[in-house]
């Protein structure tokens, strides 16, 4: 299987005055094409820190991060932005659709940032919205959509630029059970021979959708389920 992303001995330490907090202890983990990986752990365990490092929005204190074979942790922010744009799609807990833009414009946004011609960007955005069955709401502003609908538009935005890595931060946390099934069905359908979907969650309902589960506990990344009450 093709390795899409890898973190190698990465750690993250936050310093506030004299206080040092180790959010992530030295950890290594790889993510491959064709799999949907759940990163599971309790609140404050370090799973979002791991996702931030993997998503190239946070620099690790130590260690290396590879995206499609390129070591990115030493790149400046200006180049990391381009790495994110071309390789990573994001789905956030709070949907994070741009409020003044309608669904179609939100989905077109990554393509606009990549300087794709407007006509081509519109066609691709409509295709992405069709994939999540949101094409009939493409003219609606985010505030006119339900939480589930907003998350489906966010998924369309994440996939429209055809990234190889899709990172989801608690994508179902704010959704009702029927929307959870729809959103997870769509995320599962994105997994392909050249795509990997990584989902950070503490929602145990998502386990059946996972091809692999990575556990994060107390800043440690584990491949085995820890013996804690939270794991169940």
């Amino acid at each position: 299987m093709k390795e899409i992303a890898k973190v190698s001995n990465v750690s993250k330490v936050y310093k506030t005055g004299d206080t040092t907090i180790s959010a992530l202890n030295p950890s290594s983990v790889s993510f491959y094409a064709g799999e949907l990986v759940l990163i599971i752990g309790p609140s404050g365990s370090g799973k979002t820190t791991l996702l931030s490092i993997l998503g190239c929005v946070t620099y690790p204190t130590a260690g290396e991060v590879y995206i499609n074979g390129t070591e990115v942790s030493s790149l400046p922010e200006s180049q990391l932005g381009k790495i994110r744009l071309e390789n990573i799609g994001f789905v956030f807990q709070g949907y994070n659709l741009i409020a003044p833009l309608n669904a179609l414009q939100n989905v077109m946004l990554p393509l606009e940032l990549m300087n794709v011609p407007a006509k081509e960007a519109k066609e691709k955005a409509i295709q992405a919205l069709k994939k999540v069955t949101m094409e009939d709401r493409m003219k609606n502003l985010p505030r006119a959509l339900s939480g589930g609908q907003q998350q489906r538009v966010a998924i369309a935005r994440a996939l429209v630029s055809n990234p190889s890595l899709i990172l989801c931060d608690e994508p179902t946390a704010a959704l009702d059970p029927s929307s959870v099934a729809i959103v997870m069905g769509e995320l599962k359908s994105l997994v392909s021979a050249d795509k990997c979907v990584v989902i950070v969650t503490h929602d145990m309902r998502l386990r059946p959708y996972a091809d692999r589960i990575v556990y994060v506990d107390n800043g440690n990344v584990l491949t085995e389920e820890p013996k804690s009450e939270y794991a169940h």
Partner: protein, 378 residues
């Protein structure tokens, strides 16, 4: 979807804040435009005797700096000026302050200008004569009064209206519209009658208007007059104009009051625009963080905010321009003939765009500090 359209959608979405920013720009632009329009009008009034006369050279008492403060010179100076090489023609002008009283109306001070007949050089511009002919001034007791004088005298002033000037009978034989002075309204008559109304002797005059021969150098003729005729000073028209304006502005406080208001309009506009855009950026901080997270460069976000600032400036400026035109039309009926010069309008636009862009730096600085990772913090 271009970044321009995205910026426009940000503006349209946050209507309350957008109205706030636009209002700040509108108020600043309107106040600056209004003040400069009025100042330009006043400057025109200050130099009105010069602009109306259309002579190439003005000769006045050697201490003269302001055309509105002309001392008396002797008529011999006129003959001396006429004898200077390069002088094609020279005409006398009498300018004095007089008191006019209209029957059943008020008494008011006027600037009485005496011009030489039958050519009437130095008289009111022909395009501003709305009733009667300039030759009518040759009639007994004839004067030329302005349409807007009725605001001062509180009775209609028209051809045939009788009045007294310094207690002597006069009758309006010519009427102008918009020929006004900085202090008092202008009334024209023949030079002899002006001396009669003002109790001046037949040898008194206040200025000499000179036109030079074709091909003659005006500067050289000015220098020749200054070197030859004692006790007077010759000015090129534009030099006396700027001397008059700078003298009046320097002695009346008009510049400081106008300048203070403009500076406060700029400061108020700057902070209204800056703080409202900053507040708007705070409202949209999650959106800007999301843009950064999905890969928008700082340059893209900087452009997005600056385009919004320029759009606000353009919209506010257009609205203020419409308002300024309304103000101009509204006050025209009172005789306040405000005009906005193109270079002034362009200058205001440049200033407004500049302060909008600078004010946007408040928002830019805040958004620059937003980390892309902030999107994972709920």
């Amino acid at each position: 979807m271009s970044i321009f359209k995205t910026a426009l959608r940000f503006i349209k979405y946050d209507k309350a804040k957008s109205i706030g920013v636009t209002s700040g720009i509108l108020i600043s632009t309107f106040l600056i435009g209004q003040q400069l329009g009025i100042l330009d009008y006043l400057m025109g009034l200050m130099a009105a005797p010069i602009d109306n006369a259309k002579a190439q050279i003005w000769v006045a008492d050697s201490r003269t700096r302001d055309v509105n403060q002309l001392a008396v010179i002797d008529i011999k100076k006129l003959r001396e000026v006429r004898s200077i090489s390069g002088v094609k023609e020279a005409f006398p002008l009498v300018v004095s302050v007089a008191s006019a009283t209209v029957d059943k109306g008020r008494t008011s001070s006027i600037t009485l200008i005496g011009i030489e007949s039958p050519h009437f050089n130095g008289g009111p511009p022909s395009d501003k004569i709305i009733s009667g002919k300039i030759e009518n001034l040759q009639m007994d007791g004839a004067i030329c009064a302005d349409f807007f004088d009725e605001k001062v005298f509180e009775v209609p002033i028209e051809v045939g209206t009788q009045m007294e000037i310094n207690g002597k009978k006069a009758i309006v034989a010519v009427q102008t519209k918009g020929v006004r002075g900085f202090g008092f309204g202008f009334m024209y008559t023949t030079i002899e009658r002006a001396r009669y109304y003002s109790n001046l002797s037949a040898n008194d005059l206040n200025a000499i208007l000179v036109n030079v021969n074709e091909g003659a150098d005006i500067d050289e003729v000015v220098n020749r007059i200054n070197a030859t005729v004692y006790g007077v000073k010759a000015y090129k028209t534009e030099d006396l104009r700027s001397s008059t304006i700078s003298t009046v502005i320097g002695t009346t406080g008009i510049a400081s009051s106008t300048g203070t208001l403009i500076i406060f309009a700029l400061i108020a506009g700057f902070f209204i625009i800056g703080l409202t855009m900053y507040s708007s950026a705070l409202d949209r901080i999650k959106d800007y963080g999301t843009l950064k997270a999905i890969g928008a460069s700082n340059n893209y976000i900087r452009k997005l905010i600056l385009i919004q600032a320029v759009l606000f400036a353009v919209i506010g400026y257009i609205l203020a321009f419409v308002l300024l035109q309304g103000f101009k039309a509204g006050v025209a009926g009172t005789g306040l003939l405000v005009n906005y010069r193109l270079d002034v309008l362009i200058g205001i636009f440049v200033v407004i765009v500049t302060i909008s862009v600078i004010a946007a730096t408040f928002a830019l600085r805040r958004i620059k500090g937003v980390e892309p990772a902030s999107v994972f913090r709920g």
